[in-house]
């Protein structure tokens, strides 16, 4: 077999691999959801500008799709997407200040939502800095945002997550915190008390029958959840 034929074969085998790595284009994605051509072009332009600043395009496209699904007029959608890109740029700045050189789309989105909910840039930066790894920072910010939305102060919400990381809690345990906080409030605890209790550690809450708030499913292997249960 000649070298040319061998290289052709190698190229043929490589094509599916590289094609699988490509995401459908932004325009294709937006057109598939029925967005009008003018809006698609505008979103594409905003996304291109954002990408040049290191902001991922996908969340912007998702925002446009969300607006279109909700039957928001196209000019309003474009304005919201542009504003969202600006918020993401600020969030990216906070995240990179926290030591994440090339933050993921998920992390930037999480930071954007955190800052929109009232967690300031410094607190986002501190959270990212305290994260045990880049994969933990996004979920950590999601949890801090959800805790803050439940009435726990921004400082305490961030502190709960950071303290959990210091104790070596895994990401999965941290993701349970908003549900635990909700259950504790249902028992009559104030948001401040919930924050304080969670700062002290999750082990007491997760350990036994007495420590776990009512309504909180027991750890896996000890029974089924009340509202959700792990998929078999």
């Amino acid at each position: 077999m000649s070298v040319k034929r061998f290289l052709n074969l190698a190229l043929l085998l490589a094509l599916p691999c590289s094609a699988g790595a490509q995401e459908p284009g932004l325009r294709t994605q937006l057109e598939a959801r029925g967005l009008p051509a003018d809006l698609v072009t505008e979103v594409e332009t905003i996304a291109a500008d954002a990408t040049a600043l290191g902001i991922p395009a996908r969340p912007l496209a998702d925002k446009a799709i969300e607006g279109w699904a909700k039957r928001v007029p196209p000019p309003r959608i474009a304005a919201v997407v542009r504003q969202y890109a600006t918020q993401m740029a600020r969030a990216r700045e906070a995240v990179t200040s926290g030591g994440m050189g090339e933050p993921s789309a998920h992390l930037i989105t999480a930071a954007t939502q955190a800052m929109a909910s009232g967690i300031d840039g410094g607190q986002v930066e501190a959270t990212v800095r305290a994260a045990p790894g880049p994969e933990a920072a996004g979920p950590g910010l999601n949890v801090a945002t959800a805790l803050h939305a439940q009435g726990i102060s921004a400082e305490q919400s961030v502190g709960v997550v950071v303290e959990a990381w210091r104790r070596g809690e895994p990401v999965s345990a941290i993701l349970d915190m908003p549900s635990l906080a909700r259950a504790m409030q249902a028992q009559g605890m104030s948001p401040a008390q919930v924050g304080q209790r969670m700062m002290q550690g999750m082990s007491g809450l997760q350990g036994g029958q007495h420590g776990r708030p009512a309504g909180v499913p027991p750890p896996e292997g000890h029974g089924k959840g009340t509202r959700g249960q792990r998929r078999p």
Binding site: K70, V72, A110, G133, A146, A149, S172, S179, R230
Partner: protein
Amino acid sequence: MSTDDRFSKDAQRYLDGELHGELPSDERADTDRLIEAVDAYAARAQPLDASLDDAVMAAVRGRTPARRRVGWRWLLEPRQVSLRPVWIPAMAAAALLIAWLGVRGPGTGEPAGTAVAVADTVFVRFELAAPNAREVSVAGSFNGWQPDAVQLVRGETGVWSTTLALPLGEHAYQFVVDGERWIPDPTAHAQVDDGFGGTNSVIVVGPRGVVRS
């Protein structure tokens, strides 16, 4: 009707050649008639011409294999490859480049480690009390905000519900009532401004599921 219905166990053994003449006369007459019929049939059967095998095999070998089979055969048959050594480093570099592009993924910069948090899925129940609604669905970040993708089922008390398998992590959503009214879930972990004048509900799905208010 099976042979078991027509012949006794002894008759079957007789047919198999295990018994010799120990059957009752009527049963023996039946089995003998059967043996004779089989022998007569065997005698009439014409032996196949030995050349038929060769003809069939020649026809099979002569059939053009499907293109896919040709490709597979080409790939699977051992071949000699002659290659100038100068191509080896070039091909190694190309292989490394392909591997790097594959690992890098779709360009979102998403670290592979994130899969640890999102690989698992949890069943999450969505409920909305809307006794007067004609239809209720849920749309959110988990289904591309498609308003008609997930319909809820009405219970007797007017509570609409559905259960979805969602990845661990945060999800934003709203209920869509009668295909036009987007309303938040009052029991969610958080309510956030959606930027369009509405409110998205947010839940954070942990391994234990979701506890709402």
